[in-house]
Symmetry: C3
Subunit: 351 residues, 3 copies
Amino acid sequence: MKLKNKSFKIGFGILSIITVAFFLIPFGNSEFQSDSELFSAFTALAANPKTHFIEMNASSLPNGQLAYQMISHKVDSGNGLTRDITVARYGENPTPSIPGPAIIINQGDEVFLKLVNKIGGDCVSVHVHGVHYSIGDDGTLASTNKVEDSCATIDSPKTYHWVAGKGTVGTWPYHDHTFGGETGAEDRGLFGVVIVDRPGTKAFIDGKMSWIPVKKIDKEYVLYMVKTSFWGLEIDNNKGGLQTPLWVNPTLLAKQNDEVRFHVVGLGSEFHTFHMHAHRWVDQGTTDVIDTKNIGPLARHVFVVKAGEAVGSGDWMYHCHVFNHMRAGMTGIFQVSAAGGPSIPGPSPLV
Amino acid sequence: MKLKNKSFKIGFGILSIITVAFFLIPFGNSEFQSDSELFSAFTALAANPKTHFIEMNASSLPNGQLAYQMISHKVDSGNGLTRDITVARYGENPTPSIPGPAIIINQGDEVFLKLVNKIGGDCVSVHVHGVHYSIGDDGTLASTNKVEDSCATIDSPKTYHWVAGKGTVGTWPYHDHTFGGETGAEDRGLFGVVIVDRPGTKAFIDGKMSWIPVKKIDKEYVLYMVKTSFWGLEIDNNKGGLQTPLWVNPTLLAKQNDEVRFHVVGLGSEFHTFHMHAHRWVDQGTTDVIDTKNIGPLARHVFVVKAGEAVGSGDWMYHCHVFNHMRAGMTGIFQVSAAGGPSIPGPSPLV
Amino acid sequence: MKLKNKSFKIGFGILSIITVAFFLIPFGNSEFQSDSELFSAFTALAANPKTHFIEMNASSLPNGQLAYQMISHKVDSGNGLTRDITVARYGENPTPSIPGPAIIINQGDEVFLKLVNKIGGDCVSVHVHGVHYSIGDDGTLASTNKVEDSCATIDSPKTYHWVAGKGTVGTWPYHDHTFGGETGAEDRGLFGVVIVDRPGTKAFIDGKMSWIPVKKIDKEYVLYMVKTSFWGLEIDNNKGGLQTPLWVNPTLLAKQNDEVRFHVVGLGSEFHTFHMHAHRWVDQGTTDVIDTKNIGPLARHVFVVKAGEAVGSGDWMYHCHVFNHMRAGMTGIFQVSAAGGPSIPGPSPLV
């Protein structure tokens, strides 16, 4: 490298110190030091990439809504053995749910997702964000993608092939893109998330920026903001990643000082602002510390908080801060206590 | 620390230089060098933490709107002496105002805020963002927080206790959360800001990223974007931080080259884009330079500009760039001149 | 520089390494190393600043919409020679277009833009974001700017003088601000972009953050999101920067692995979320990798992708992800193929 700027050279010593000083402060060094290995994982693929064989239904609920339903999730680590993780991750006999099952994989993994149409009528699909796939697996109609109807009819399931290649870490929505036409029927309940797990999530805890490795995260909440409701799902990492559908405006339970991760996603035609009482967090990819975030349709916002940090236990509201949405009931409770426990689902259309 | 990545080691020398080069350029070094102490303040508490004893009314305005009113602000620096800063900060006999008084404190400070309900009827509250407090001081109803009605009735004031602990620097909204029900009456005028003062604000001045220390900021404008109006407040740091309510769509005055800070907050059900003519600034926590910013309800956007930088004096418009909002008059003037002077309030519901 | 913090000094050696490690990972070093000169350009003015003499019409289209039309663009590099680049950049006999012509300049350049009003009736203007100009060139009415009607009547053209001074790099909208009153007639088609070209755009390619120098960008698409349509323009850098109006919801063509840059801008009263299938990119000024971005009126979002990276050729949808906007047809195709070729315009009001 040739440095053309003379004054740059002269200032090097002192500026080096300043640069370090600047970044030293915002990033707490305790997490950082012990987790420097984390960063390489942003471009690294998993050491043991896996192939996931997943089967899901697209189903009708009693109230006319539609929902994805996990049927089977098997994993092949390339050693000739296939492990069935369906019960471990989704419980016994998983029902359809809104949001649909969270598909959690590592960078480097592949997914074969077989979608079975139990609704009938139109062709139903899974269009996924973020990961790699060929145009035939786009989850769109042939009239758009010029290749094939990338969806499942009542007679013919569709198997999608995704690759979580380099640079696909993150939380990404998936949703229907064909039922009733190219716009799809995401508005009727056909949505969920894929989490290509990342080395960690930046958090602002005890006044310091830190990286919270995924392995330290106790619980995760997926919250879709739709019209004037939250549709939730819990992932309990202390129970091996067991998922529980939480339905509408659930009460989210956490143990005091647990590190919990929120995956907030917008959907539909409304814009929202997600707010939670007495907690604050870092806006991913920035150094801005916030407690209220604009959420547009299909934009996603991921953050970690330490439950009850510096404020203690309590029934802390989370809600949309759009006034008309609040008035229409778009609110729930983040219940922090010494005991913690499983979150309490809200009303479900299954009943 | 153990470095596992061999190629990382090899590249260390040259990459160190590149890293420094990268951050040298975007951050102008003049501000930076003399203010490196600033950064430590992001996690540091104030050297002399203070306790603030504040009394505010929630009052009715002649037109039926509601507003907070500063009654008294006393400060105890822990030396046994309590100083009354009411007149210095809020002037003689402060009226109710929209937005309410800006409560400016340092990280490490504590606040005891006594709210007196002069409206009558429902229980009125102050729910604050960003700072630390216990669930009983949440400004919500017992039906939500399960502890107490955290609000003031006509007969019984409520005293809130806040702690601006580590990591609470920033501009944070406060607002009612109980009047007429859990949604509160923020829409009728009950809102303001708490500023936990920060070491400085990142600015993009003369083509360079700099940190502007708070002590250098000449004036500050609080602008709430509500439906199709701006509701403003001025803080003049050259007059000891004296606040003046500016009401609706004020004319903001600044002296050429003064460094002024804007605190823009959304409220209600509308989304806005804040724009100001002929100025640009850095989106906090990023290196993006913008002149138009999405503002959702209760999201806040803080930035510094040098008034008239490279464009000189003039009546520069600030306005919402949502077309229907502009058409409905959501606009004001940022008047930059050699003389400067106090900003000119817009129409007030007090008359 | 005096370092007051003792523990900072002690930790210097190890933290220096950590800092470098942190920034090494997210930023791919191949682009970075060869382009370190790029960064200085953020504050540097062009080596040979130019003066641009531009003449544009404001014209009426057959359907009643209004549009800017390039008439002439000449460049003086200060050597006494003036070069006419009209045909090279805008083609033979450029028609009016929506968006209007993209005015591409370098930092340090000056522009004299003469606007001729071919519409008649009210005074029509060009109000520009981002660059420097005096209040008389604000493109607003005298009733607002207190100086002059900064606009062109049928009898009297207006010449604007802009300076792309230090710190003005970026993509900035321009639009009418006087036709029919201070709000202007941007909603009828009078909008475009100025691009003050930057040293490069941060991209997330093959899992690495890189800086893509402008000279490497093959094609650029300007996409204005207005109500339920995209209004597009192509800039082909492999044809000397030739611009082609693409009108409504065009099919954007790119060659596999071409590096293409999108300039997405909002306009009007609606908020949008821009999404593109099977691609992801970095949110400028952050390290957040996204595929869906909130776009408010007059906010702009600029990003680079490698066409078909890791997903191959295909007809990939780009669309607004606001459900009602999708249903109303706010969608187009990003067609990636081995051959590439010129993009295919959508329906035009010219016919």
